[in-house]
């Protein structure tokens, strides 16, 4: 007979009378009063214990409400949930500058290095989830302390686990860390005060867009953003893939906290999620979109208001080899004009298309052109192009990647590698050429991986540098019927360089993750 908790009983008492339809039209504070105050006492008008003492991102609030439903049995209708996330993120969110260091976690970027908060917080907090999860919240010391009580109470095995039992975890977490965390991430900050006082940018209008999908795909085009009847945003994308065809898309987005764009849509017929941030001046949207089922598959997104001051967003490709030619696309604002565009010394351009936001030209670089940076200028805007003679260095990114075997209801997690080329200028300086075409192969990372034939079992590496892991579960062909995990070196050889030039990355193919919280 499971023990019923007082909070559960309270929830039943509090929640029974509420009518969900009416709730959605209530003001934010009224919603909190109706749905939360049974457990979170209203200590002063509009001030609720715990709830009013924390600031978080929209994803942070979603995770909290998930717990209130799952652990504390709060029966919250979806429309009230959504209205509460908006209300809480708008009134108790993070300012743009506060959210910036942890954005990679909101954007679900795969294989990025977590924040470095020093060795103690790294082990105390970073072994179960990202430190970005911590850095994306604001509380004072007593509220951080309450959260430590939650951790110990909810995960009592924490102090028995490896990296928890090597130290007095609870004593450190309850005495030393609350003040340390409050100094790093306090509730009241000038950044938040200023952001709250500001008029929030209006994002409706016409935008110029560039997108990059790791593995060799680049996009450019426009977005038309408007407000719908509910005041939410609708975007229509008209994109072109470099070296490919047209790609249309749309999305429906809510902007939280005045700048956190969260969209759901499609691109080229595939479902997308968009996690973008508007710049404080409202002229730029940056972030990442991804496949809702595979957050590791997605692309970098940048959009600039079409009427923003002249600026080059991208030159595609960003590097040209001497003695060759290429169709170059320049994307940005203010690119039209009477004067002929220039691609710099030794580069000859025949313009194929020229509009305010796109310039396309066939560019040839003389065989004797001097290697180095070039300024690309069109209209009032200027960008950068690199002219190179050869690739002198190759770096595999990410340097350390993780892929996960798949099976059952859990899909495999792929890992995408890119080969980033660089050329050495006569002065010795290394200049990046961006992603370059490469041949890929996987090798055992060490002797042990060789002995256990990880290359054969863990999955396969595709021609564009994407690693597709194998199925999960005990494999009778492996020692101790092991899982198809692996420890691999991912080796890139630049197509455009001598055989000797290779770059190496490290890939660990590991087991599934059973949960996919919005912030790892």
């Amino acid at each position: 007979m499971p023990i019923r908790s007082v909070p559960l009983l309270l929830a039943l008492l509090v929640l029974a009378p509420a009518a969900p339809a009416a709730a959605a039209t209530e003001s934010g504070a009224a919603l909190v009063r109706t749905w939360c105050s049974g457990c979170h006492r209203e200590r002063a008008p509009g001030q609720f214990e715990r709830i009013s003492d924390i600031r978080k991102t929209p994803e942070g609030w979603v995770m909290t409400l998930f717990r209130m439903r799952q652990v504390h049995h709060l029966a919250l209708p979806d429309e009230v949930h959504d209205a509460l996330v908006r209300h809480l993120a708008d009134t108790q969110g993070l300012a743009p500058a506060e959210a910036a260091p942890g954005r990679f976690a909101l954007e679900r970027r795969p294989n990025v290095q977590d924040l470095d908060l020093g060795p103690e917080l790294g082990v105390m907090c970073g072994r179960c989830h990202s430190l970005a999860r911590v850095a994306l919240q604001r509380r004072d010391a007593d509220e951080w302390l309450k959260h430590m009580h939650f951790h110990m109470g909810q995960f009592p095995s924490l102090e028995y686990q490896a990296s928890g039992r090597d130290r007095p975890w609870w004593e450190i977490a309850s005495t030393k860390l609350p003040a340390e965390l409050a100094a790093l991430y306090p509730l009241a900050t000038p950044a938040w005060r200023d952001w709250q006082a500001r008029a929030k940018p209006e994002l409706a209008g016409r935008w110029v867009v560039v997108g990059h999908v790791p593995g060799g795909r680049d996009f450019y085009g426009t977005a038309e953003i408007r407000r719908d009847a509910a005041g939410e945003y609708r975007a229509q994308y008209a994109l072109t893939e470099v070296g490919g065809g047209a790609l249309a898309g749309e999305s429906h987005a809510i902007v939280y906290t005045g700048f956190e764009w969260r969209g759901r849509g499609t691109l080229g017929g595939h479902a997308t999620r968009e996690i973008y941030a508007a710049s404080e001046d409202g002229r730029r949207l940056t972030g990442r979109w991804f496949d809702p089922e595979h957050s590791e598959e997605g692309g970098d997104f940048t959009a600039l208001r079409a009427d923003a001051p002249a600026e080059v967003l991208a030159v595609l490709p960003q590097a040209l080899k001497v003695g060759t030619g290429a169709h170059v696309v320049v994307v940005g604002t203010g690119l039209a004009g009477a004067a002929a565009p220039s691609f710099g010394d030794g580069a000859r351009a025949v313009v194929a298309r020229r509009e305010a936001n796109v310039l396309e030209a066939d560019v040839t670089v003389a065989a004797d052109a001097a290697p180095g940076n070039r300024v690309v200028s069109a209209g009032a805007a200027s960008g950068r192009l690199v002219v190179y003679r050869q690739i002198d260095a190759l770096e595999v990114r990410p340097a350390y990647g993780i892929a996960r075997v798949g099976g059952g209801r859990i899909a495999p997690v792929t890992a995408q590698f890119e080969a980033i080329g660089a050329t050495r200028l006569p002065g010795g300086e290394l200049v990046s050429l961006g992603p370059v075409a490469a041949e890929w192969r996987a090798e055992p990372f060490d002797e042990e991986a060789k002995r256990t034939a990880d290359v054969d079992f863990a999955g396969r590496l595709e021609a564009n540098g994407r690693y597709r892991p194998a199925g999960a579960g005990p494999n009778p062909k492996r020692e101790f019927s092991g899982n198809n995990v692996g420890n691999l070196a991912i080796v890139a050889r630049a197509r455009d360089a001598g055989d000797a030039l290779e770059g190496r990355g490290h890939l660990v193919v590991t087991v599934q993750r059973w949960n996919t919280p919005p912030i790892y």
């Binding site: 007979m1 499971p2 023990i3 019923r4 908790s5 007082v6 909070p7 009983l9 309270l10 049974g38 457990c39 979170h40 006492r41 214990e49 715990r50 309450k146 009580h149 939650f150 110990m152 109470g153 909810q154 009592p156 095995s157 102090e159 028995y160 490896a162 039992r165 090597d166 007095p168 609870w170 004593e171 309850s174 101790f480 019927s481």
Partner: protein
């Protein structure tokens, strides 16, 4: 359709690779979701399969009563302790540690006084307030074993954090508690009588050691043993090293000895009746030469086992924990003699495998 018992017997015929020892031992093990097994070691058969009502997915840390008539277990998400009559399977003792406003877990640490009258549980409590949790100080709760199914503690006293095992001393006056260090407490008053090093051991040149054990096995010698991991100097550089910790609960003698540069993970160990060998399991079966301080043998196992024990006559090694196999190995040669599959392939998880000598 043959009965499970029948199918079991048939399976055993196929699996019995050697002649069983004649010790007459009974083996106790628990399994998910609510099973307690009593096994005849010599016959390699399940004598009893008992269901523990309300076990809720966990039957862990088995502690037999000193007279061998009952076994106590941690069940129900570590929030309850039961005593089960081994002859009938009836639950004769139950303490539900949590209340509506306090969640209490026992991290597998409990022990019984030599007279069988009192049971001491280690409690890790959390106060559940309407909008927050409050971590409270862990404590020992002493129950009378005749308190029935709604047992309430008769004495409660404060304890250190992060304990994982309690071991009664034969005098019945005090018990050991393993946590960050090895503590000794007075049974009557709960006074801390002494603290000796685990994290603060005194092994020259060694790093802080790591010891975590949920298998309170002291049979057949009265000595508890466990693997301990630390970095020790080897040719001048720190090298992961496995040591054997042993604690004689009667004399209090505490000993640590390195026996190999770490080359296999070991979850639990047991000391042979002659105290010359210790056996450890995880993905291998390890034999340790105790006086010689060295590895004496190692064979791979079919899969991982968590919990090891030894026949009262020392001739066989028993192993369980994780999955549904109970293994019987020859203590001299480390050869597999038999595998007993628990009915329905019940998963033993962290349950300790306990041995009751001759019935």
């Amino acid at each position: 359709m043959p009965s499970p018992r029948r199918r079991l017997a048939a399976a055993l015929l196929l699996l019995a690779l050697g002649a069983p020892a004649l010790a007459g031992d009974l083996i106790l093990t628990g399994a998910k979701p609510d099973k307690l097994y009593v096994i005849d070691a010599a016959k390699r058969t399940v004598l009893h399969e008992y269901r523990i009502p309300g076990a809720n997915g966990l039957v862990g840390s088995l502690v037999p009563s000193p007279d061998g008539k009952r076994v106590y277990a941690v069940i129900n998400r570590m929030e309850s302790i039961v005593g089960v009559d081994l002859a009938t399977g009836a639950t004769v003792f139950r303490a539900d540690l949590s209340t509506p406003t306090e969640r209490v877990k026992d991290f597998f640490a409990l022990t019984v006084t030599p007279d069988g009258r009192e049971l001491i549980a280690y409690e890790v409590p959390t106060r559940l307030k309407p909008s927050e949790y409050e971590v409270e100080q862990p404590r020992f709760a002493v129950f009378r074993t005749d308190a029935g199914l709604k047992a309430q503690p008769v004495r409660v006293y404060p304890a250190q954090r992060r304990m994982h095992m309690l071991l009664m001393r034969p005098s019945g006056k005090s018990f050991y508690a393993l946590g960050f260090e090895l503590y000794e407490y007075d049974v009557k008053t709960g006074r801390l009588l002494g603290t000796r090093g685990i994290q603060h051991w005194e092994m020259p040149g060694h790093s802080q050691p790591d010891l975590l054990a949920f298998w309170p096995v002291t049979e057949p010698t009265g000595v508890f043993t466990s693997p301990v991991y630390a970095e020790a100097p080897q040719d001048g550089k720190p090298t992961p090293t496995t040591a054997l910790m042993s604690l004689d609960v009667a004399t209090g003698a505490l000993d640590y000895r390195d026996f190999e540069p770490m080359s296999a993970l070991i979850f639990s160990t047991v000391l042979s009746p002659d105290r010359r060998s210790a056996y450890g399991v995880y993905s291998t079966l390890t034999k340790i030469d105790v006086p010689g301080r060295k590895l004496a043998g190692r064979v791979p196992l079919d899969h991982t086992f968590y919990s090891v024990n030894v026949a009262t006559d020392g001739r066989e090694i028993y192993m369980g924990g994780a999955m549904c196999d109970v293994g019987f190995y020859d203590a001299a040669t480390l050869e597999k003699k038999a595998i007993l599959k628990l009915p329905g392939c019940a998963d033993q998880a962290l349950a300790s495998l306990r041995v009751l000598a001759a019935h």
